[in-house]
């Protein structure tokens, strides 16, 4: 698909993971996350095994560790809550570094942190090896409601157009001496947001007109067929299947 939407999350490459059809990768990541989430939190070693699995996928995809770890930072705001758990949870308490922490809370925090991090790590790998456009084709292939896929594809197409409109409105405001300082100016910003909404809505109507003019009748025509061979499916599903084995072991051992 050429240079296309070279999104910041995507890393161009020609590894075997890049070459897999998008819907097999989506399925693999989804199943992997389900398996990880259903693992008992006491089976600490199982999570280490999952991390190893992901690391081997990253190695096969030739995604450098630093690139991968940096993108994991997106998780930070979401795990802040997990760090609070040991302090606020009820029940049996234990002493760590002179602080009284809840045992229950500690396990809870570990649970959120480990499963969250593995989920985000898997998604970052997916994003690094699959172009946005391909992801949409994959979702379409997996029979996601077509309306949702269309909305997502329009978001990609018009995100930049709307952002550009927003930038022009900001420049127009600033050119007339406006500077947002404090609460008193929120009204102006809110009105700009409203105007932007109306403009985007009207653009939506014009786009719809253009689509109808070219024969759109409610569903997107299929332009690119993506198909996967049995070998590709097997290759992609190795990850969740191995993870499933680890998960079952975790349940029997704990």
């Amino acid at each position: 698909m050429g240079a296309g939407h070279a999104h910041r999350l995507y890393r161009h490459g020609h590894s075997p993971v890049h070459a897999l059809p998008p819907h097999t990768k989506l399925t693999a990541v989804f199943c992997f996350v389900v398996v990880v989430v259903s693992t008992p939190r006491e089976a600490v070693w199982a999570f280490a095994a999952y991390a190893l699995l992901l690391a081997s996928v990253a190695y096969a995809a030739r995604v450098p560790p630093l690139f991968w770890l940096k993108r994991l930072l997106i998780e930070v705001p979401f795990v802040a809550f997990a760090l609070l758990l040991p302090f606020v949870a009820e029940g049996e308490r234990t002493e760590v570094l002179g602080m009284s922490l809840s045992v229950h809370g500690l396990w809870g925090a570990w649970n959120v942190l480990a499963k969250g991090t593995l989920g985000v790590a898997a998604s970052v790998l997916l994003a690094a090896t699959t172009e946005l456009r391909e992801l949409l084709l994959g979702l379409q292939r997996l029979k996601l409601p077509p309306l949702l896929v269309q909305i997502a594809s329009f978001m990609i197409r018009y995100g930049d157009v709307v952002a550009d409109e927003m930038r022009r409105m900001r420049i127009a405001r600033e050119s007339r001496g406006f500077e947002a300082r404090g609460v008193r100016h929120w009204g102006v910003l809110a009105k700009s947001a409203g105007a932007l909404f109306i403009r985007s809505y009207e653009r939506g109507e014009r786009v719809h007109l253009a689509m109808v003019s070219r024969g759109y009748a409610g569903s997107m025509p299929v332009i690119d067929e993506v198909a996967a061979t049995r070998a590709q499916w097997t290759y992609a599903l190795t990850l969740p299947l191995t993870a499933l084995a680890v998960c079952l072991l975790g349940w029997t051992l704990s």
Binding site: M1, G2, A3, G4, H5, L132, R133, L136, S153, F154, I156, R157, Y158, D160, V161, R203, R206, V207, L209, A210, M211, V212, S213, R214, G215, Y216, A217, P221, V222, I223, D224
Partner: protein, 257 residues
């Protein structure tokens, strides 16, 4: 169909007694009559608010006439032939960002034919041919918003050409184009073997491209004739709020096509 057997092909576009009022009661068209023969290039001139866009939206059945009829290559515009009509009438809208709604140029050009059921190698061939006609074949995998405005306008023309239309309808094709892009687009339009209806304010552009012009004013066709003649008629022009750019004399321009 016309029961009279004729040897000449039916006109690409035939509009008779077309009247239309918007749901809010504002009447935009009061009986428009016009006929465009196959292969003609015609300019539709008119001041703002004359009903040009309303007329254009009738040509492919997006708006349905209150009275009168529109016929495209012998096919009446109506619910029964809507898919066929939309394939035959290619409208290029003013803002290419509205026209180009798919993530890549290739998919956008493929949209129309794919919606009509074309698949596989034939679809690919259509896309490449249409992009070739506008000189944009090298940009097939680019996302539309990474192109310059002039390039986007050309791709917008290609999206419509890919449907192999009977008539190409362009809404303000020269708006926002720099002079070089303007000339490139003119060269492309001249090279196409298709009927063209060009809605515009840009009078020199109309003169350059279209031997014949129509003036739409207050919802009726006020004049129909050779473009150079209409533009030279100062009284006609000023009575319909049409003005030539400063220093432009239509009599000084030698006919090109």
């Amino acid at each position: 169909m016309d029961p009279v057997v004729t040897t000449a092909p039916p006109p690409s576009l035939e509009v008779t007694g077309l009247a239309y009022a918007y749901p809010d009661g504002h009447q935009a068209l009061f009986g428009v009559d016009l006929s465009i023969a196959r292969g003609e290039r015609v300019a539709l001139l008119g001041p703002n608010g004359a009903g040009k866009t309303t007329l254009v939206l009738h040509l492919n059945g997006i708006l349905t006439a209150g009275a009168g009829s529109v016929t495209v290559a012998g096919l009446p515009v109506g619910k029964r032939h809507m898919a066929e009509i939309r394939r035959k009438v290619g409208i290029v809208f003013q803002d290419p960002d509205d026209q180009l709604f798919m993530p890549t140029v290739r998919e956008d050009v493929a949209f129309g034919p794919a919606a009509a059921g074309v698949r596989g190698p034939e679809l690919e061939a259509r896309v490449l041919k249409a992009l070739g006609q506008v000189g944009m074949a090298a940009y097939v995998d680019r996302p539309p918003h990474h192109l310059s405005f002039g390039q986007r306008r050309r791709v917008a023309v290609a999206t419509v050409l890919a449907m192999e239309p009977e008539i190409l309808v362009l809404d303000e094709p020269s708006s926002n184009l720099d002079p070089a892009s303007r000339r490139e687009l003119a060269d492309i339009l001249r090279s196409l073997d298709v009927t063209v209806l060009m809605v515009t304010h840009d009078l020199p552009y109309a003169l350059e491209l279209c031997p014949r012009a129509l003036i739409l004013s207050e919802g009726v066709i006020a004049a129909d004739g050779p473009t150079a003649e209409l533009l030279s008629d100062a009284d006609l022009m000023s009575s319909h709020r049409l003005e030539l750019p400063f220093g432009f004399d239509p009599k000084s321009v030698r006919e090109k096509s």
